[in-house]
């Protein structure tokens, strides 16, 4: 391998590892999000040439941050027409030290910068799409066209969304900081929610051929890993990472070669990602030992019940039903209760599950949701009442929107009719 390849690899690796940190630090020292991104971009471009000439620095992150800081200072000095800009440049110059490969004292501060950045990107005063886009752009280093493709919106729309979000942060006075203790629990939940949404965007796209979208799963896991490292005392951050890993382990077996949905019980368990399952379950155990359960830990525990069962028949449905019961204390939603109905139907018999489905039908919160009749249909099918099951499948088919799910329900309906 040539030295050029080595440098390109080192820059690519540094980009994945250090981009968020460089941008986060530059935002703190300049207060200017656009300047921070431009300076970071410039530092990575310079790295290609300079590392070829001078060798790869011992601490690439510190080299990049120092270089980006110099660049920002240059820009501010050049633009320093007003007193405010001069003050900014002065502040920047004061912090400015030469790159020192031995100096390691800034590391805790550097980590704080990334936490500041993620809490600011996920501030609840920003619209949710902007939170997701801003996190991907500034913290994960995805380009605007990449984010636009991942969310299937025109590039101009995504660019506009990012511009507007940065403008609001500046004009509305959204603070660049980790929230104080009294706000931290709810804001942390907000950050975790953004990462979970990001993962689900990629997960839902798994049935399609669009690899950019499924890359969102990898980005969400990378960001959740970062957050778990930055907030190791918060069990829900570990719970979220565990949940994402346990879902991701099964991702590739959810659709077959023809693009058709494969249900959990028919998936090829030998193809599940063992390393992800092991890491997810270990993280979950660490989280649960803290004795502060939460929605993500419980969902991870449910996912672990599935992924650690050697066969579908070995699944501990009684355990899963109990966990869904626990989950509804944290997330009082009818969808959670529907999932519990499935688990109860599997552990105590179809009639027990059908009784819970009937409760939900009476309450009406899920009217129009195709999985309500689909669940009824599945429980009836399992207990051999194929004629009633077929009727419920027909109702589900009237409501379903996703093509892969429609084909799956049609297949089941045909099976029930021919039984």
């Amino acid at each position: 391998m040539s030295a050029t390849d080595d440098v390109e690899k080192a820059v690519a690796a540094a980009f994945r590892e250090e981009w968020g940190q460089v941008v986060a630090t530059l935002i703190r020292v300049t207060g200017d999000w656009d300047l921070a991104e431009e300076s970071a971009q410039d530092a990575f471009a310079q790295a290609l040439d300079r590392w070829r000439r001078d060798g790869i620095p011992r601490r690439p992150g510190a080299w990049l941050t120092t270089t980006a800081r110099h660049r920002a200072l240059d820009v501010l000095r050049r633009e320093a027409v007003g007193a405010a800009k001069l003050r900014e440049a002065a502040v920047l110059a004061r912090d400015e030290g030469p790159y020192d490969p031995e100096y390691d004292g800034e590391d805790s501060g550097v980590q704080d910068d990334r936490l500041r950045l993620i809490f600011t990107c996920c501030h609840p005063a920003l619209p949710i799409e902007a939170r997701v886009a801003l996190t991907l752009r500034t913290l994960a280093g995805l380009t605007t066209p990449e984010i636009a493709r991942a969310f299937i919106v025109p590039e101009a729309t995504m660019a506009q969304r990012l511009v507007r979000a940065k403008k609001k942060i500046r004009n509305a006075g959204i603070p660049y900081r980790v929230p104080p203790a009294h706000l931290l629990p709810e804001r942390t939940t907000g950050v975790l929610g953004v990462l979970y949404l990001l993962f689900n965007e990629g997960y839902a796209a798994s049935s399609g051929a669009d690899l950019v979208r499924t890359d969102l799963c990898a980005e969400a896991i990378r960001l959740a890993r970062l957050l778990a490292r930055l907030m190791p005392d918060e069990p829900e951050t570990l719970g979220l990472l565990a949940l994402l890993l346990l879902h991701d382990a099964r991702r590739h077996t959810r659709v077959d070669a023809a693009g058709e949905l494969v249900t959990l019980e028919d998936q090829d368990r030998s193809a599940w990602d063992r390393a992800e399952i092991d890491e997810g379950t270990a993280l979950l155990e660490t989280a649960l030992r803290r004795g502060r359960p939460g929605a993500y830990q419980i969902q991870a525990a449910i996912a672990a019940c599935h992924t650690t069962a050697t066969t579908a028949e070995d699944t501990d449905w009684a355990d899963i039903a109990a966990l869904y019961g626990e989950l509804s204390r944290f997330v009082p939603s009818a969808v959670v209760r529907l999932n519990r109905a499935v688990a109860v139907g599997m552990s105590e018999g179809a009639d027990a599950g059908l009784a819970l489905v009937a409760d939900l039908e009476r309450e009406g919160d899920l009217t129009g949701y195709h999985l309500l009749p689909a669940t009824r249909a599945d429980l009836l099918r399992r207990s051999g009442r194929t004629r009633e099951a077929a009727e419920a499948y027909e109702r589900a088919l009237e409501l379903v929107e996703n093509d892969a799910e429609r084909r799956f329900l049609q297949k089941r309906l045909a099976e029930c009719r021919s039984a």
Partner: protein, 112 residues
């Protein structure tokens, strides 16, 4: 940072005078504890039914009764506050009784 808090009340809700508000313990708590030292000015406004809207089209001054648009809420009052950042402004807004009872508080940064 300076913000304006715009207190919006549902149209048709009970209209209470400043004196009645002052006697309400929730407002008293807000005035005495929450906003102390952070409000730089403001006003309670009479209801939308007392409003006159002015527009000029060509040379003509057009007047209409009430607020310009049909809305579900009307602006009942305004405060100017000076606080550290949006989080602090939100905390103030969230403690104001108008944010409860079906009303809302709009937090707007002052354009300086």
């Amino acid at each position: 940072m300076k913000y304006a808090l715009l207190f919006c009340t549902p149209v048709g809700a009970e209209e209470r005078s400043p004196a009645e508000h002052a006697a309400d313990p929730r407002f008293a708590a807000y005035f005495d504890e929450v906003r102390a030292g952070r409000v730089t000015g403001g006003a309670r406004l009479r209801p939308a039914s007392d409003a006159t809207t002015v527009r000029v089209r060509g040379d003509e001054v057009l007047l209409s009764d009430g607020p310009f648009a049909e809305t579900k809420e009307y602006l009942a009052g305004i405060s100017f506050i000076d606080v550290a950042d949006l989080d602090e402004a939100i905390a103030l807004a969230a403690r104001h009784p108008a944010a409860l009872d079906g009303g809302s508080v709009e937090v707007r940064p002052v354009w300086e």
